[in-house]
Subunit: 563 residues, 2 copies
Amino acid sequence: MVAPTGITAGLINLLEVFIIAASVGIFVAKVGRFPYTIALLLAGLAVSILGINIDITLTHDLILLVLLPPLLFEGAATTDLDSFRENLVPVLVLAVPGLIVSILVLGVLGHYAFGYPLLLATLFAAMILPTDPVSVLALFEELGAPERLSVLVEGESLLNDGVGVVVFSALFALISQTPPNTDLSELISPEVIAETGLEIVVASLGGLLVGLAAGYLIYRVMVNLDEHMTEIVLTLILAYGSFLLAEHYFHVSGVIATVTAGLLIGNRGAEYAMSPQTKISVFNTWDTAAFLVNTLIFVLIGAKTPIHQMVDNWQLIAIAIVLAIFVRALTVYPFTAAVNRFSRRDIPFSYQHVMVWGGLHASIPIALVLGLPGDFPNISELRSMVFGVAAFSLVVQGLTMSNLLDRLDIVTRTETEELYELLLGRARAVDSALDAAERLHDRGDLPTDVYEDFRGEYRHEKEDLNTAISRLLRENPELRREELLVGERRVLKQEKSAIMDATHSGVISDDIGERLLEEVDLKLDRVDTGRSTVRDDPENEAYEEFWRARVAEYGLDFSPSDD
Amino acid sequence: MVAPTGITAGLINLLEVFIIAASVGIFVAKVGRFPYTIALLLAGLAVSILGINIDITLTHDLILLVLLPPLLFEGAATTDLDSFRENLVPVLVLAVPGLIVSILVLGVLGHYAFGYPLLLATLFAAMILPTDPVSVLALFEELGAPERLSVLVEGESLLNDGVGVVVFSALFALISQTPPNTDLSELISPEVIAETGLEIVVASLGGLLVGLAAGYLIYRVMVNLDEHMTEIVLTLILAYGSFLLAEHYFHVSGVIATVTAGLLIGNRGAEYAMSPQTKISVFNTWDTAAFLVNTLIFVLIGAKTPIHQMVDNWQLIAIAIVLAIFVRALTVYPFTAAVNRFSRRDIPFSYQHVMVWGGLHASIPIALVLGLPGDFPNISELRSMVFGVAAFSLVVQGLTMSNLLDRLDIVTRTETEELYELLLGRARAVDSALDAAERLHDRGDLPTDVYEDFRGEYRHEKEDLNTAISRLLRENPELRREELLVGERRVLKQEKSAIMDATHSGVISDDIGERLLEEVDLKLDRVDTGRSTVRDDPENEAYEEFWRARVAEYGLDFSPSDD
């Protein structure tokens, strides 16, 4: 009836991508334990080798403006702010100075290895080095890797995407503004470095501010609203809006704005501004959206890999792969060691290996290289190298990740721990169901009769759960011990925050506060090294509080109660 | 950094639409009882009157290929096949012969009223007469209209969209193939009528077959798969794929293909090929997608209404509105009367009035008129009339619908339900009075004596109310059952949200969280099909929680408390 038009052709192409994706999904479901994103990439590569043309142009704007904001937003929204904060120091150190140093190092190495002008080699470094969490995290989830490792890897990736794009843009502007045939090395002067540094700071802080402002605005609206569909629309507006606002109105980092907004809404927003129904709808929607976008990205990356160019440039690609891994190792180990020196909770060596090998380079590098104009110096080589490093890191590093985790003995969850988590999770669900029933009853939405049935049923289940949990803890003393330490750490954190508040408000003076804090830190350290401060272990002395010593010193008549 | 390009501009325009939509959503949530779609349309109109330009071109292809398939698929998938079958005769009679007769009648009337050639007037009739269920159904749901009325209205709309498009296309081809300036009436000959009739039959049956084949294929794949994200992708492929396959490869009705596929997957598919988790994910995704698409359509219809043209053509529009309603009445009453004569379950007169007045003309007519070429005869008048009839039916008919239902006494809750609501409402009032009195007393605004009198009085009333409610529930087990299920659904949502929180914050790992969520989904599904998980029904076994099985498997020495 209607002749195939632009829209029809576009739809058919999208359908092709999703048919490939569905086939991959069915394959992965049947075979099991093969990472979905990597399978998508390989299917895309196969399609491109078979010469089937998928007529969707993968452009810089498509990736950066359309596909990336939902991924960044979803990634940030599902990051737990508390764990993120606890690991903020290593994450920040690796994502900001770590990334910048590694860009400079790879720039210098690339200058010699590829024979590029220093500035161009540095641009390549800024383009290739930001890491992508997607595939690694999917794998971590599947294998049950420790929460902290996930937070470290994901946190770094979320932040260094922003920093990488900012550095890249600054360098790109620098190269574009110079007349052709200038010796690019001449451009590097102290003023230029200072100016670029300032640009990076302004863009990052600006992005942070835009994200906070936009996120807070939407948060305020959502607090006063309980209408899950409209709230989905609001988060949609926030994800894309914060990005566009930052990039096009304030010319600051859109990536950082969207990540900040996502962290805010996913944590504070979910806690205070969403009803359970809204929370479920919003997170499910974003989960599905991120899945679809990821699917699209990975198939397209595979299908659009310039295989012929890459065959021609295989030597450059090989060098780039080795250099990228080498430089990443060169940054992760020393920077983490420095952080470990000043922090109580060490990042173990085994984690550091995973962080080096898990630094996959995918969508951001590809978006950036596709954004370079066609007449850019060495453009064909740059494209080959970026696609080459991306393919290698996704396929080889991605596929060997689970072996690495096994080797390093990182994914260690016993059957007991699994059962314990299951019981704990169910107990939480039952508690909140009881709360909900009580609230509904109090509000008159649930008749007393019906409420009593509910309560009976859930209390019964709760009792059984409690019995099962106590039994399990009794039969597994080491599990009990671990739980004790986790609980103790939380309680100590609370102590610390109370002392800080008291100092802050002037109830106690700063020096006394300092001493009290020192004591809590001492206890925290004890806990971190696996000793409890509550239980009287035969090997470890019971902890004696500082004030007891002071009371005795003072000579106060005071007989402590018996233990 | 990057100059605003096509994609950026497109994104900004989409964001504008969604910002309008969110404002409308917030407004509707605060005001209540104002239909969301009509508010969207009015907001769109306001935007267009204020001269704010939303730079999205509303084209035939955009509506018919991109926006309509998800709406049709979702509409069909959420239609209960059993009720649909029970009402198949009236629905089919109205959607096929009913629609065709009304097109012919309106063609003849329009020929005289507008002075158009007969063929052109018939084309206009085919374009304007298909009905749109969206707004009416939303209203029905809100007001609690009877299930059967919804099925009649929705069923007719889903099918007559397909038939209308087929008739329109046949007539359009006829007009286009003739040289300009031919007297169009000459074209109407017995052969042409027979040929057009055959085309309609072929296109409808062909669409049905394509929908069945595509739906069955996807169904077979889904039976052997349990991977909810891939199954979402499969339904996405089905919704658009069946449409494109029908339209562009077989040149039969895409609308009928998509509706058939949706009916199949939403019923047989949901029952036999989806796990509870998959079912919930798939339906939630489609629910959200349909909401977003609807939002887009109604804002755009409002914003793109050609107001100046419409002012010029107001007389034609007025005639068109009257004729459209008149012709609809002229078909619905006699055809329903005929059906009633041969059927066991009469469609009451009151329903027929609603079916006449609820025949809204929106997206399909607008898509079709926008698809007409710019040099089509009387194009400006045709556009004005279609937009005019659409706006009138949506705003005037849509907004008066609830009055009509009230007048006709259709939204009939039983006496028991009414009493129950009355008691519940009073109980709420008493609760909040008690709260208020307590607050006033605490603040010292109410002397203790007086407060105690108050409290005594209200508590007494509250007790009596509680007794009355319990009695009523005890005497009406079906009411109690309904309350139980409603309450249970809410409590289960709360459970789900608690598990999501625990996973999010890392208390339990993702895979354990997924298993717990799966269990809640299973329970939700039980509740959705009318079975409680709390009460031990004699017919249904009590639900056994997953963790109990795991505890037994693990071999934990655990004797659960007695029931």
